[in-house]
Amino acid sequence: MGGMGDTNPWYQAAKTTMIVGAVFSAIFTVLLVVNLVGSAIIGPWRENKLAVMKVQVQQEPGNQELLSEIRQLDLKIRRDRTWRWDFAAKAAFMLLGSVVVLAAAGKLAGGIAKVSPRPQPIMERGESQVKEAKQARWGVAGVLAVLAAGMLLLAMSRWVDFVQGGDAGSPHASVEEKHGQWHRFRGFAGAGVSAYTNIPISWNGKTGEGILWKTPVPLKGHNSPVVWQDRVFLSVADPNTRQVVCFDGKSGRLLWKGDVPTAPVASAEKFEIMEDTGYAAPTVATDGRRVYAIFPTGDVAGFDFNGRRLWHKSLGRPDSSYGYASSLETYEKLVLIQYDQGDGKEGKSRFFALDGVSGQVAWETKRELPSSWTTPIVADVAGQPQLITVANPFVVSYNPADGKELWRAECVGGDLAPSPICAGGLVFAIQPYSQMVAIQPTGQGNVTKTHVAWKAEDGIPDICSPVSNGTYVYLLDSEGLVTCYNVADGKKVYERELKEPFRASPSIVGDKLYLLSLKGVMHIAQVGPEYKELGKCELGEECLASPAFVDGRIYIRGAKNLYCIGQTPVGGPSEAK
């Protein structure tokens, strides 16, 4: 087959067909591109306009014209979209057809116009082959260099090292860090114990002596202050609002307020709660990176320390006769919520552990127990961290990492409000007006008959939780009766009437007992086998919340104000352990 040349009619026909095919291909390509512009630009532009109009119509509910405009635009968008899809599909087919025509004609033309081979004379093929081989080797080397450059470029991109290094990098504070702060109701493990030795022992709220600052707290709440380094957290609420507030620990300045929304209610049922409990009864908790709050409406939220709300969740309105009041606890990165409700038979009670970063449920355990108003604690006892909870009639201990039950003891009853504590290797739980039980936390399963060390029956409070330094355990009841027992054997050591009402739970700081009365008077006594009063400090305001003790400072929440008691502005985080 030789080259037929341009005179061949087939060749002419092929060329013409090629041109036709090329033109059609170009036309359909352009049409497709135009269509693309339409769907990628005009479509979204119209949709944005529609969104804006929809927002506008919310504000102008009576504007019928706008409404009909919206509906028309919506219809137009939908019709347009469907039409564009169809058009694109059809145009693509036509494009394929014209490209096929173009290619076929091209092949035909190419075949006809093929030139017959006319090999040129060659000399010294050997040399040229050597040269070719050399060039090929360099070509390979060149591409290899390009690949190596690509690898280098890839090597320059950063990657994330998962090795947890340093405090700022870890997702939650360590146990050691928590010991040095007041991260939840009554501090680490809810013990009410602080190891700082530089805590003030005298101040006067009326004269202002010893008071570093005093700041009014918005709204209301009975929950206790929580302190992490230079931040003090409280939660506040009224029937329509729930907030977490953060104050600067050094100056008392309000840093931020975070709203906690509530779930939509199917019926417009008003939420009412007992006045003594209030709309913000549970105390907040922090894991050193985020602060968490729960409200009696069943709404939980997590905030970072700058006030940004990370998540919120509604656990459903709890069925709790006095109003839900259990405070939060944290374990590593988890937020632990004792969600007891109902009468126990309905099986509504749960224990939730939420992931602090996202609010998702990490684990949840069913509890066939009725409402309780105690706060759970996580303490390191019997060689492992235990999550200890108290509800009628069991004291139950769980593994805080996965919610598996470790042991339970049937030893309490009634409406439970005082929270448990761990001291001297024992767990103390209180049944109001009735008894205090000391349990050895070393068992497994139902240890009612085997691990109860001793019981005590005198001076049992109904609200305040106990406090202990490992040797003595102190009870404080609502009328001001202080009762001291030996941890080792449960023998009563002494009783003392303070003749003042108390709501805040007692605390031990170093070797001193701090008892905050309802009238705002702090009774400071020596820890020991007899009650030796060291002083009384008046605040001048009613106090229901338990105080927080951190490095050189005490934070007390009064009914209206938050007080910081300390000598001089203390240094920054480097001083805190």
Binding site: V57, R78, R81, W85, A88
Partner: protein, 189 residues
């Protein structure tokens, strides 16, 4: 022509050997595959319990009009007047007005059944798989709306582009004989 006859046979032997090895290799690959063979072809499907309704299904499918569609599980549906999968978060009224509908293509149809219940059905040809209704239903409702790959449209690509882009890795290969993972009452994950 090779200069050495020995060279020739050695080379030939080597070649034959290699050829045999390659054939054996191909056979092994075949055998291995047959041994661990799925009788059925596999197709792609979404695990509705992993899906977070991010909206990628509508945009990442290689088809212009995605092969993923929303399905309504009537047995789970609450038939609510205020359907959070059908209505925008702050609807002007609880009706079928365009300003109240969440669905951008109008693929959900609302019909009155009896007070206070409404039936919600999906008009499949209109659905584009964007998942807005799924998000609303799961966040505040019963989660009866969920996305599934429709196999009359899906091309069953070897590497599903949506699967590669799915943030929750909700796509899995399922046998073609049972190509759907449907939500049903009591059938939790």
């Amino acid at each position: 022509m090779p200069s050495n006859k020995e060279d020739m046979t050695r080379r030939k032997f080597l070649r034959e050997g290699l050829w045999g090895t390659c054939l054996a290799g191909a056979g092994t690959a075949a055998g291995l595959s047959v041994a661990r063979n799925n009788q059925d072809n596999t197709v792609w499907q979404i695990d509705p319990y992993k899906c977070i309704a991010c909206g990628n299904c509508a945009t990442y499918c290689v088809l212009e009009h995605s092969a993923v569609k929303c399905i309504q599980a009537y047995a789970i549906c609450g038939y609510c007047d205020l359907c959070t999968g059908y209505l925008v978060p702050e609807p002007k009224a609880l009706d079928t007005g365009a300003e109240n509908e969440l669905c951008p293509t109008g693929a959900i149809k609302r019909t009155y059944v009896e007070d206070p219940y409404y039936e919600y059905t999906i008009d499949e040809p209109l659905c584009n798989g964007c998942g807005k209704c799924v998000k609303g239903c799961v966040a505040f409702g019963n989660g009866s709306l969920f996305l599934q790959v429709r196999h009359d449209r899906c091309l069953n690509c070897n590497e599903c582009a949506i699967a590669a882009a799915c943030p929750s890795q909700a796509y899995k290969r399922v046998p073609a004989g049972q190509p759907y993972l449907l939500k049903g009452v009591g059938a939790k994950e």
